[in-house]
């Protein structure tokens, strides 16, 4: 079982998210995360889906997604050729005397403190998975009260755009 990141261009019609997630659940594909938002073109949205499976499943997922009329393009974003990012908000339990050390950790990771309260701090961080996971493990001893991760989003490096990819790989 490997992890693959797919970037999917879809028509910005209502129900598209439901069609895509319905496709995954009905065919039994495993989704680790799904993030979606508008692109430069307001009629087109872009989904970043992290799936888990083998080569056969990946091939089927790409082909079944392409069958959906609302799906315009599906490409795989390989780790060496793409930039992966995730945004996380973490609410850590921090007593007043601990605040300086936590602030120090956050600065080392180049994160930001976005909220202060008497017994907690809210930290915002963006980065690739490794960086985000490292910060979370540094903060765990203090007690993480709440946390939310957006899930991976990614773009291909270099000059090429998703629109320039062929719809189907050369067989």
């Amino acid at each position: 079982m490997k992890r693959y990141v797919l970037s999917v261009l879809v028509e910005n019609h209502s129900g598209v998210l439901s069609r895509v997630s319905g496709l995954f659940s009905r065919r039994g594909y495993n989704i680790d995360s799904l993030s979606v938002g508008e692109t430069e073109d307001p009629n087109v949205s872009r989904m970043t889906i992290v799936v888990r499976g083998d080569e056969y499943i990946l091939e089927q997922i790409k082909k079944q997604l392409n069958k959906l009329i609302d799906v315009i393009k599906v490409i795989e974003l390989k780790p060496e050729q793409s930039v992966y990012r995730e945004l996380v908000l973490i609410k850590v339990g921090v007593a007043t005397h601990q605040r300086p050390e936590v602030i120090e950790i956050v600065n080392i990771f180049r994160g930001r403190i976005v909220d202060v309260a008497s017994e907690s701090l809210m930290i915002e961080i963006t980065g690739d998975e490794a960086k985000v996971s490292a910060l979370i493990s540094m903060l765990e001893p203090y007690g993480i009260k709440e946390m939310i991760r957006t899930g991976l989003t990614a773009l291909e490096r270099g000059n090429k755009e998703i629109k320039q990819h062929n719809k189907y790989e050369e067989e």
Partner: protein, 536 residues
């Protein structure tokens, strides 16, 4: 003009002459527009039959079948029909009424989320949000239904939108950026496939429903005969290859011909054309085509590599690809292989087993001899389906179809009605069992109302034959398959004003078939069949 009238104008632009439907409150404005139009509306007796009739109509005419239902229960009754069409890739456009747009989501009277409900087994669906979009939506829906791998498309129209005034203009072109099927095969792949053939000693072609829907029967026959490659077919491919050709071997699958299955298992190169090769065709075995290099030709790239490990995939319309093949085809060195298979085929032919009741296999063979060369046979599901598939001779313009993918009982009667309406000058026979008949017999009223002439061949073995056979095989006992309490089918037909005769013995068949064929009206033939009669 009113949107409902615009919908009718769109149907006319799409050359729709017949629709099958059942009205209700939410679809009333469209019905008013239909009343004023030249389009023929066939009123069914349950919406599932509207979808099946549209399917039979589509398969016979080559056009897109159209069915119409109201919101709520009308729409949900279409679901089985839509799933049936989806599994067999039949071009259908279904129009459903929907509650007033401002009331959607509030669980009002006769409201269902039909676009959500049909999502798993539909090619595409639309919920109309702005009446102005209707002409574009209808144009797209017909395009999607009949191109690429055909399939059902649903358009859900809130009742208030049907009454709105809109500008009517029908685009000549469709441009859907997410939908651009590939029709021309990649020349490199085609050459690879032909090279692989050149060295093969035991090639086999296996065809599926794609040959029929692409109307590629002539190209296939020409290619098979020019290259001297024997052909087998799946249940859905029956009729794609003329049974009289010396290269036609038989049907594969769990209920197929032994020689056909043997041919696939011994082949060194197997070409699958327009077939998805699911579990019934492979017999569920991992050893299917184990000795062969597999070439898979299909217009739907998702099917290639899904069930079979494919060495050479070719995506495209099978008719185009066969034409390209024909240009470069060379006769292969297969005389020994073909002789081996045709000898086996001859030796497989069994003698008729004596029976105290009607032998259904003999009945279908006899039917093959007396029907016209352009007759249409529509089979239901179960033993009657396999008796029909295995014994009906298909050549010249004959046609055979059934619910292959979903296996929906009750399909054959409404589908045969659709076929007869599409081809009023051809003989149409519907075969079914006593189980399947009772799932849709109410369509006898539709048949009567529309003056349709069918020959209905009902095999009565007082039960669900195929399930019963499987139960005995696995558990040595039957349960829940006994259909005692069956009505007197001849009396039932008579109640609808339909003639019929019960047949108890094989020697009565010829006379009854003659009577049915020469009758001007529908004729029901009820054959009493031994419950222990085997499928194979």
């Amino acid at each position: 003009m009113k949107a409902a009238d615009a919908i009718v104008e769109c149907l006319k632009k799409e050359e729709v002459t017949t629709v099958f439907g059942y009205p209700g409150a939410a679809i009333m404005p469209l019905y008013e527009a239909l009343r004023k139009s030249p389009i023929r509306h066939v009123l069914v007796r349950q919406e599932q039959a509207a979808a099946h009739s549209a399917s039979g109509y589509a398969r016979t005419s080559g056009k897109v079948g159209v069915c119409i239902a109201t919101s709520g229960p009308g729409a949900t009754n279409l679901i089985t029909g839509i799933a049936t069409a989806y599994m067999d890739s039949i071009p259908l456009v279904a129009f459903t009424g929907q509650v007033k747009s401002t009331l959607i989501g509030r669980d009002v009277f006769q409201e269902v989320d039909i676009t959500g409900a049909t999502e798993p087994f539909i090619k595409h669906s639309y919920l109309v949000k702005d009446a102005k979009d209707l002409p574009r939506i209808i144009k797209e829906a017909f395009h999607i239904a009949k191109t690429g791998r055909p399939g059902p498309v649903l358009i859900d129209i809130p009742v208030d939108m049907q009454n709105e005034n809109i500008e009517f203009s029908y685009d000549e072109e469709v441009n859907i950026r997410g939908y651009k099927p590939t029709y021309i095969g990649h020349i490199g792949q085609i050459k690879r496939a032909l090279r692989r053939f050149k060295d093969s000693k035991k090639p086999i072609i296996c065809i599926g429903g794609g040959i029929v829907s692409a109307k590629a029967e002539k190209e296939l026959l020409a290619f098979a005969e020019k290259s001297k490659i024997p052909v087998v077919c799946t249940l859905m491919g029956l009729g794609g290859m003329d049974h009289n050709s010396p290269y036609y071997i038989g049907m594969i699958g769990s209920h197929g011909d032994k020689v056909a299955n043997k041919a696939v298992s011994e082949a060194d190169v197997a070409v699958f054309m327009g077939a998805r090769i699911a579990d019934r065709a492979t017999g569920g075995s991992k050893l299917f085509a184990k000795n062969a290099d597999i070439i898979h030709i299909d217009v739907d790239p998702a099917e290639i590599g899904k069930n079979l490990g494919t060495s050479i995939p070719v995506v495209g319309d099978v008719k185009n690809i066969l034409e390209q093949f024909l240009e470069m085809a060379q006769p292969l060195n297969t005389d020994e292989w073909v002789k081996y298979l045709t000898d086996l085929k001859q030796s497989d032919i069994k003698n008729r087993k004596p029976s105290s009741n009607v032998n259904p296999k003999y009945a279908i063979q006899l039917l093959s001899e007396v029907l016209d060369q352009n007759a249409i046979l529509v089979a239901d599901v179960g033993q009657n389906q396999m008796w029909s598939a295995r014994n009906f001779k298909i050549f010249d313009e004959r046609k055979f179809f059934t619910s292959g993918g979903l296996g929906t009982m009750g399909y054959s009667l409404p589908a045969a009605i659709g076929a007869a309406i599409a081809a009023p000058n051809r003989q149409v026979v519907a075969t079914m069992g006593d189980g399947g008949f009772q799932m849709s017999f109410f369509e006898l009223a539709t048949l009567k109302q529309n003056k349709v002439k069918l020959i209905i061949l009902l095999f009565n073995n007082e039960g669900l034959g195929m399930v019963r056979e499987m139960q005995y095989k696995n558990y040595k006992a039957e349960y829940g398959v006994n259909l005692s309490g069956n009505p007197d089918f001849i009396k039932l037909a008579d109640a609808y004003g339909i003639k019929g005769r019960r047949v108890l013995q094989d020697d009565e068949l010829k006379e009854v078939f003659d009577e049915a064929i020469h009758s001007d009206e529908t004729f029901l033939i009820e054959c009493i069949v031994d419950p222990k009669e085997s499928t194979l």
